[in-house]
């Protein structure tokens, strides 16, 4: 049994956890522990061998491993204590406000006491059962991340004839990844009438490789009992209901599912943090502090991000808050609520103090062209030529603007102009 005291504990060694560790150290927090479940740092970055990372955060185009290497390089010059291969099971809040994290690692159980926690445990992938793909349960059905781990961390090829379910960026990138290994990628199947990923990925991952994209189509059933033999596909109408007689069969030996991500909030929820149904992550204020004082959240556990850059940015933000809390304490506030208005599906933070700049991250409910994001109560609006559910919006509003807020809430509306 090992017990240690720190000022700050960071749970999760992916991009947001690493960025927060580095930032907190720079802010003068001298006693930091970073708990990472796997035996290496970087989260999913090491297996994301394609480029497209870092354009905002590092202002250059990097691959996942390069992005991770840059962060790890910075981490080296800090005194952050890294515990790899450590699983944090419980977060307990003592009556004094002190936090205690208990868990296990190879050969020992540990307890870590600290003043502040940054929770950056990332997300998990949705399974076929969560999207009701029927049929038998043969081998060859993988989530995109699982297939990526097998291919690019362990050198295993999961199949030679591939159907990808879901046209988000993860699905598109895996379609290309299989094509690059000589596999026959039969199709990317998307239930919505529009692709879920970035246009540049449609071009670079599908069109360049002649991979067909089936829009308004749904994989309903997996055939095969030992190994996948094929999938049943149907067309769907505007309400996403299957159209009778539109059934088709595609032969394949692997099905790759890119059907959404879910924040891994179990530890936070168990500790009593309020969870937002819209994001699946914790409710946070503009310090990125959860409803448990002194416990902050960043990265994909806070909200599913499109870009690793945003996850890292949130990590930094949480670190600045934690540093402030550790050094001088966070001021007590009566927070004002951020309310979802027309065509806004989700937004973080949920609560704002109005004394500091706030970066809002969110998603619309349905695609619309030529829209304005209106923060009516303070008279601010942002124009976008196109808003898509698949592309996160990100707006920064200054403290000066927020100071104008007189109501107890601020509503965000997407309005066609």
């Amino acid at each position: 049994m090992m017990g240690e005291n720190y000022d700050l504990a960071i749970i999760g060694g992916g991009p947001s956890g690493l960025a927060s560790a580095i930032r907190a150290w720079k802010m003068g927090v001298e006693s930091i522990v970073l708990l990472e479940e796997s035996n290496f740092l970087g989260g999913v970055l090491p297996q994301c061998i394609h480029p497209g990372f870092g354009l905002h955060y590092f202002r250059e185009d990097l691959t996942g491993p390069e992005f991770a290497a840059k962060l790890l390089d910075q981490l080296k010059s800090t005194g952050v204590n890294v515990l790899s291969g450590s699983y944090a099971e419980h977060l307990e809040i003592k009556s004094s406000g002190e936090k205690e994290i208990s868990g296990y690692m190879y050969g020992r159980a540990f307890k870590v006491k600290c003043k502040a926690v940054i929770y950056a445990a990332g997300c998990r992938e949705r399974s076929r059962f969560e999207v009701n793909i029927l049929g038998d349960r043969p081998v060859g059905v993988y989530t995109a991340g699982e297939a990526q781990t097998l291919m690019d961390m362990y050198g295993v090829l999961p199949g030679s004839e591939i159907v990808v379910v879901g046209s988000g960026d993860v699905g598109l990138i895996m379609a290309r990844r299989f094509a690059l290994e000589g596999a026959d990628v039969k199709a990317v199947v998307e239930v919505m009438p529009y692709p879920g990923g970035l246009t540049r990925n449609i071009v670079q991952c599908l069109e360049d490789f002649h991979i067909p994209l089936y829009l308004s189509c749904m994989v309903t059933e997996i055939k095969g009992s030992g190994r996948v033999e094929g999938v049943k596909i149907v067309r769907v109408d505007e309400k996403l209901n299957p159209i009778n007689g539109s059934e088709n069969y595609l032969k394949c030996n692997a099905v790759i599912l890119a059907v959404g991500l879910k924040p891994r909030v179990e530890l936070l929820a168990k500790a009593g943090a309020l969870i937002d149904e819209a994001t699946g992550g914790p409710v946070v204020n503009d310090w990125l502090e959860t409803t448990i004082p002194g416990v902050f959240a960043a990265g994909n556990v806070l909200v599913i991000n499109d870009l690793v850059d945003y996850a890292a940015e949130q990590g930094e933000r949480a670190a600045e808050s934690a540093a402030k809390l550790i050094h001088e304490g966070l001021p007590a506030f009566k927070f004002k609520r951020v309310v979802l208005g027309r065509n806004v599906r989700l937004i973080v933070p949920h609560l704002i103090s109005c004394i500091q700049d706030v970066t809002f991250y969110g998603r619309v409910g349905k695609p619309e062209e030529n829209v304005q994001f209106r923060f009516e109560e303070i008279g601010r609006a942002f124009k976008l030529p196109i808003a898509r559910p698949s592309e996160m919006f990100r707006f920064k509003i200054s403290a000066d603007d927020l100071l104008r807020l007189r109501d107890e809430k601020i509503m965000v509306n997407v309005v066609k102009v």
């Binding site: 159980a109 029927l134 081998v139 090829l157 309903t220 009992s225």
Partner: protein, 500 residues
């Protein structure tokens, strides 16, 4: 007849494994347990409701074996689960009636239960029902309360029976498919399998869905097996509301109906439907839209509220071996000495298995004119793999100190440690499903998307095989088709051949 009697039991499901355990008690038998799959319990035993029935369902005049063996089996399971450390909840079952017609059926069931010797049955009113099961539908007017029913983990049960059998000298033959039965002068003389020829004196047919094919090989039988599919839905552990008892509707002539229950691992489970399949579809375990819809609607009638649909983490299906005659088939044949049937084990086959095993022992005694002698060193006990998730914090610290691998958590949803997975491999698991059923790794919220590869990595390391060749459930189900450059290597090889 003197000397050791060599017995081959075909099928390492719950019936075959129960028989092997019972025979392993005696010095008189050399027991071979033959299984075509890569692990035990992967046929009918794997995918069912896991209920140890009280024994009131089966009409004793129509189905005398089912009626007798179910009630007896229930009693024996009460002992066996203790000996073998099998997870069980003796939670009792409730059959709900919603009107006077249903209440009449409860009376019939009560009467039948009494005739079958089932203890403590009682018809209870709405008030008592509400007390026993607060989640039960408020539309229910009465219920049959059977306190002796239980919820077991069927795959743990089979693993336990087989481990105990092996500890007592039984030889397990996995991935071994019977191709023929050799009969010389009207007596069993051996089994031809895909692996070898096995000389035996006696064959016990516990081949589940394929029992009729085995009988045909022996030139006997005269019955056939109809696969009947049952689908299920499983909810996440944190899904509410839960039930604490097993809840049935009133039965129909076809089935006992869709059940609402909580598994021994704490997951709410609903199912099964009952769909007759053509005889050639003995591997069709596919889930269907209509099937799952029917289960959802039926289960909704039994409880006040089901958890939300998005709390479903998995659906699956299993097949029951429906015998053409309706009752279990437990018999021998004059024309083939040594061939004994333990087949047609539809519901309540799981409950009846230990009693079937006793009956098979009796049949062997009679057939071979034996007075079998107990083995001096027979070990009645078996302990299951120590589960990290079930330990107290103090126990966990101790476990981690003794075995560092207990500190490495592989499946975070189910809190399964590497040490448990290594132990499961030591006990015979060679596949991802084998690990899953023994440890619960990959059975949680994410259904393995975060930990399947970690399990595979441990299997590859312990079995010393390439990672891509680790399988989900045996040959033909490898997780990969080769290493990541396999397709190019294949292509280059072909091109090289063309040039050469």
């Amino acid at each position: 007849m003197g000397g050791l009697i060599r017995v081959a039991i075909i099928g390492a499901g719950v019936v075959g494994a129960s028989i092997s355990r019972v025979l392993s008690m005696f010095e008189d038998f050399e027991v071979h347990l033959i299984e075509k799959e890569a692990d035990v319990g992967w046929g009918v035993s794997k995918a069912n409701t896991g209920i140890i029935h009280a024994g009131y369902d089966d009409e004793p005049d129509l189905f005398p074996l089912r009626a007798k063996l179910c009630a007896e089996g229930n009693l024996i399971w009460h002992e066996w689960v203790k000996d073998l450390d099998i997870p069980i909840r003796w939670c009792g079952s409730l059959v709900l009636a919603f009107n006077s017609e249903g209440e009449k059926i409860l009376e019939e069931l009560l009467d039948r239960g009494i005739r079958n010797g089932v203890p403590s049955l009682e018809i209870i009113d709405r008030e008592k029902l509400k007390m026993l099961e607060p989640s039960s539908s408020k539309n229910a007017t009465a219920a049959l309360w059977a306190p002796t029913a239980g919820q077991i983990s069927p795959w743990d049960a089979v693993a336990a029976l087989v481990e105990n059998s092996i500890a007592n000298g039984v030889k397990l033959h996995l991935s071994t498919e019977v191709r023929g039965i050799k009969i010389v002068e009207g007596r069993i003389s051996g089994l031809e399998t895909n692996k070898s020829f096995l000389e035996v004196d006696c064959v016990i047919n516990a081949a589940g869905l394929y029992a009729d094919k085995i009988s045909e090989m022996a030139g006997v039988g005269g019955y056939y097996i109809k696969p009947k599919k049952g689908e299920y839905l499983i909810f996440d552990k944190d899904a509410e509301p839960k039930v604490s008892r097993i809840i049935f509707p009133t039965p129909t002539p076809i089935s006992k109906g869709v059940v609402v229950t909580t598994t021994t691992d704490g997951n709410l489970m609903i199912g099964p439907n009952a769909q007759d399949l053509p005889q050639n579809l003995r591997e069709d375990k596919s889930n269907t839209y209509d099937g799952l819809k029917f289960i959802w609607e039926s289960a909704s009638n039994l409880v006040n509220k089901l958890p939300p649909r998005n709390k479903v983490i998995r659906f699956f299906a299993g097949l029951r071996p429906e015998p053409s005659g309706g009752d279990f088939i437990i018999r021998d044949y004059d024309e083939v000495f040594g061939f004994i049937e333990a087949s047609g084990m539809r519901s309540p086959g799981l409950t009846s298995a230990p009693a079937v095993a006793q009956m098979i022992l009796d049949a062997l005694k009679a057939k071979f004119d034996l007075n079998p002698k107990l083995k001096a060193g027979w070990n009645r006990y078996r302990r299951r793999i120590k589960r990290f998730s079930e330990m107290t914090f103090e126990e966990r610290i101790k476990a981690v100190n003794e075995n560092p691998g207990y500190g490495r958590i592989i499946c975070v949803d189910e809190l399964v440690a590497e040490a448990e997975i290594v132990e499961a491999i030591r006990r015979g698991a060679t596949t991802i499903d084998g690990i899953k059923f023994r440890t619960r790794a990959c059975m949680g919220t994410c259904q393995g998307s975060s930990c399947t590869y970690k399990v595979a990595v441990i299997l590859a390391r312990e079995l010393n095989v390439p990672l891509w060749s680790v399988s989900l459930k045996g040959p033909g189900t490898e997780i990969g088709i080769g290493d990541v450059k396999a397709l190019f290597k294949e292509k280059n090889k072909l091109e090289g051949e063309n040039q050469g």
